[in-house]
């Protein structure tokens, strides 16, 4: 595109001179241009180079901006993907932990089962207490346990109410970066 425009400019400068010979009136508008062309002719190569440099700089800047945006998107996408994988891994870990907890509870219950405890007590020399061995005394303030309470208060987070991993849009991020960049150093 830039080459094409230069070419046009060059042709224009070389073609305005013969036109001046036909009619003075017709050529009058071109006179100033021709004069300008005559003035510019010596510096034309310099102008062309300068023009090309501007376009080149504009092009490079555009590519850089596009690259930056693409990089940003790639970064955010990669972060989201990594977070997703981490979530998957954590969920698998939670499931595994739940299974381990269930196993441990059951194993403890097996170790503390009536048969095992009874056997262990006999091996240690204990024997079941009989009615005749008992002596009842009043213990002031003692109340026998009234049933078991399985539940302890826990705070549960409703997953639907939990905030998502990322809520920031690209523009939010840019604004944040600009803000942080323009923040005075202290």
């Amino acid at each position: 595109m830039m080459m094409k425009m230069n070419h046009f400019f060059e042709n224009f400068l070389t073609s305005v001179a013969p036109a001046r010979k036909n009619t003075r009136r017709a050529l009058r508008p071109y006179q100033s241009v021709a004069e300008m062309g005559a003035t510019l002719r010596p510096i034309a190569p310099q102008l062309r180079i300068q023009f090309q440099r501007e376009w080149l700089a504009f092009f490079v800047a555009a590519v850089a901006v596009l690259g930056m945006v693409a990089g940003l998107y790639l970064n955010v996408t990669a972060s989201a993907a990594i977070a997703g994988r981490e979530i998957q891994a954590l969920e698998a870990q939670i499931a595994a932990n739940q299974r381990v907890n269930a196993d441990l509870q059951t194993n403890i219950a097996v170790q503390l089962s009536h048969t095992v405890l009874h056997q262990r007590a006999l091996e240690l020399g204990y024997q079941p207490v009989s009615r005749e061995d008992l002596e009842y005394v009043v213990v002031p303030g003692y109340y026998p346990p009234q049933g078991v309470e399985l539940v302890t208060p826990v705070v549960t987070v409703d997953p639907l109410a939990a905030s998502p991993e990322y809520t920031e849009s690209l523009f939010d991020w840019l604004a944040r970066q600009i803000q942080s960049g323009s923040r005075p150093l202290n």
């Binding site: 094409k4 996408t77 989201a80 993907a81 990594i82 977070a83 997703g84 994988r85 979530i87 998957q88 969920e91 595994a96 739940q98 299974r99 381990v100 269930a102 196993d103 509870q105 059951t106 403890i108 219950a109 097996v110 503390l112 089962s113 009536h114 048969t115 009874h118 079941p128 207490v129 009989s130 009615r131 008992l134 009842y136 009043v138 026998p144 346990p145 049933g147 078991v148 309470e149 399985l150 539940v151 208060p153 826990v154 549960t156 997953p159 639907l160 939990a162």
Partner: protein
Amino acid sequence: MKKQFETRALSLGILFAILAFVIVAQVVRIQASPEAAVFLQQGDRYAGKYETLFPERGQIYDRNGHLLAGNQTVYEVGISLADVRNANSLALALNSVLGLNYDQVMADLANPPAGIVYMVVTDFVTADKVQQLQEMKRAMSEQYAQSGDPSLAGLDFTAHLMRSYPEKSLASNVLGFVTLENRGYFGVEEKYDSLLSGVPVTVWVPEDPNRVAEIPQIPRGADLILTLDREIQAMVEDELAKGMEDTGAEAGTIIVMDPRTGEILAMASTPQMDLNDFSQYGEVYDNASEFNRAVSIQYEPGSVFKVLTMAAALDSGLVSPGTTYLDVGFYEIGGAYVYNWDQGAWGPQDMVGCLEHSLNVCMARLADSMGRDTFYTYLRRFGIGHPTGIDLAMEANGRLKVPGDEDWYEVDLGTNSFGQGVAVTPVQMMAAASALANDGKMVYPHVLYGMASNGHQYNTPAQTLGTPISAQAARTTSEMLAQAMEQGQLAARVEGYRIAGKTGTAQIPGANGFYEPDQINASFIGWGPVDSPQFMVYVWFEKPNSADWASYVAAPVFRDVVEKLVVLMDIPPDGVRRQLAGQ
């Protein structure tokens, strides 16, 4: 030359511009087309999968928090067909560790079903077996990394939970079991299956990590706390086993209940099974009703039923403890004669003597004097012939013939009064007798103490099933039974404790409808301490061969149970209790 390139470049530029325009136009057209939804659906089909998540089955505890039913990790063993390097190694390993058929595994690997990439070989494999396989797989992978032969590549393990019973056969009649399909059968497992198993949730699990969302936390099934006391249950099972051995009975049942609340503290019947190996169910039981005889088998209870007849007679005002009659040894009713258990005549008797000597003639006279309407109204109030509603699977109704039924005859009024010709379950009999021990209020027998779900615990309140008799009649009957026991039932007495109780020896009807001459049901029901009942015990032995009377078969077992029960329940002897209460 330069111009020529310009033309070409221009042409190419235009061509690419047109192509780009066409592509964009096509994208827009497809997006806006009616088929867009179908295409999106097709795309989503490969973007993830629907998974049904089954909550962990709730656990079951006894009243003191001892785990009776929990969960344990087991594994599904499968083969990823694309990863298999050596089918022979796989078949050999699966054969040696899991005992699978070598030829079958080889055949399955050689000709897998069309279209599958993963083949399930077996399921519910224990952790130790899987560990063996994993170690073999790792060892082969390291040792034969280069040649790849032998190799267990492709062998996969998927963990999941299954039911486990740490106490094995303890309380098996009450608990029931869970099959491989995660469905509860019998007992609590069946009755509360939906509560225990929770609600499965189907969720969409995307493959794309960008679309991963948190899998919703599925609440596990509700945990149940039972009224059972593990120590009492174990003691009762021990005594039942001893009783079975001593009496040579075909089957036995013992129940311990708190008559004030209806909480079942222990319930055992024979046979029992290790719930972890429920595959033996078919070998242990001939039919489903045998799983828990305490609720599923109805039988003619015999003389234990007399406590209800006497309570009805007292409550209706027909008699008082001191009312006397002359026992001549028989009583005619409905054209038939009723005789005492020994065919003897017991002479002048009061109502305490009537209970003490368990006189059928006395009971038939009482029922006849009350009249059929009054007598059967009382039996209905006591819940005879209706299930109690106990929260265990497969409760039998019992059977009470009443006037108007095709098979009811006048003589039934007499025989029903002493527990023949009427069928009850042990738990039905206990519910009825609870009115006598609980100031006339009949309690709802139950095994659920509480339920814990979503961070909350809900305890079951005691419920009454009705008030069939007055408090006064209930106390009087209890007192009469205690006196009768003190005077007659020495085998059931426990030193230091005043207990009300009654034996029951019942004949068993055969297939032809006539009573078998040599077979009996021996029962005993009792509660105590009489002035403040804290336990009620029911003992039933079917077809014992050691003796023909319940006073020799069931009464001693009742005594043994109560002797240990008062220790486990911290119930001091009556004298000590009153002394302590006064301090």
